[in-house]
Amino acid sequence: MRRLKGRDERALQELYDALAPWVLGLAFRILHDEDEAEEVVGDVFVKVWRHVHKHDPRRGPLVPWILSITRNRALDELRRRRRWWRKADRWEQAHGTDEEAGDRAPNEAAVPGWPLHREVHAALAALPDDLRRVVTLAYFEGLSHSQIARRLQQPLGTVKTRLRAAHRKLTDQLGHLKDWVE
């Protein structure tokens, strides 16, 4: 982090090596489009490089900050795409493959951060189906509470309650996580 803030270009390269697979994985999970996901990767690292001084370590680790940038950027792209009727169909088709890793999922031993992935994945998988569903719709599809309620045909209050419950469970299980990049 200090090296990044010191404008050490080599630190940026190392950060890319450590995080690009995760950034690309998350962007692809949201967009289901390799080219668009790569575009998001570029935007994310440009933003990180330019705004790393804005990251306050006291407010949270670096990796979640970068993942939130990735998610926001990918969701922006997804919302833009949703307005394009031509691509809407393709998105709907891809929507059914939530857990698909794609044909370029790397070998776990080769990817830094894999243990952390396993832990987060396990925590999400351990959620009851109804909680996991609302979390997935909110986090990976960027839906609002009312949109989730319409999608699941559930009362808005139920959705909010489930989201609060899911957040509490995830916090309990993942609160100890720390960055694996220094």
Binding site: W22, L26, R50, H117, V120, H121
Partner: protein
């Protein structure tokens, strides 16, 4: 603890060429600053240089304008005094040059000992020639002026007469080399006895 949820997604191996593209984009933005500063400095320098050049040019042009205005005013004064002075004698000489008919008008001021000469309708000279006007005095022929006529338009000039002691008895015009001659040697345009 949804901040970490992005890590629940399996990683994907980026294409090797993506790294170069991404780093180039990120670092290019950083390096754009020196380029932008250099470009801005260049623009400022060009602006300052241009302003300095424009200032100098405007100054020079204004000086030239003032000089020409003074000269025109003086000439106007001279012409006016020539034309309206009762001591001025008007002499008009028809001439033929290059197959065309023109005239040389002389306002001879006997008080101030100067002539105002206006040439109309003279054919333009060849590139290496000029019209040369002569005073014919009691002591010989004296050069008065060399007039290179490059354009087909009237020419006016004021000429001081030769030193006192020489009596001007006439005038002549010849075609001479462009640098002028010490004595008439070329074709005569006119010769006039006063």
């Amino acid at each position: 603890m949804t901040d970490w949820l992005g890590m629940s997604v399996p990683p994907r191996t980026p294409r090797p060429e993506l790294k170069g593209r991404v780093l180039a984009r990120a670092l290019a933005r950083r390096r754009r600053w020196p380029l932008a500063v250099a470009a801005a400095l260049a623009v400022v320098a060009a602006g300052v240089g241009g302003a300095w050049w424009a200032h100098r040019t405007i100054d020079a042009l204004m000086a030239e304008r003032d000089r020409l205005a003074a000269r025109v005013a003086a000439l106007d004064d001279t012409v006016s005094s020539f034309i309206h002075d009762p001591a001025t004698r008007l002499i008009q000489v028809p001439v033929s040059t290059g197959g065309r008919v023109g005239s040389v008008t002389i306002f001879a001021d006997s008080v101030r000992h100067r002539w105002l000469v206006r040439c109309d309708g003279l054919a333009p000279n060849a590139r290496d020639q000029a019209y040369q006007l002569w005073f014919v005095t009691d002591q010989g022929t004296r050069p008065a002026a060399v007039m290179a006529m490059d354009r087909d338009q009237p020419m006016v000039m004021a000429l001081p007469l030769p030193q006192a002691g020489e009596q001007v008895r006439g005038a002549a015009m010849t075609i001479e080399p462009r640098s002028g001659s010490a004595s008439p040697s070329g074709p005569t345009v006119f010769r006039l006895e006063l």
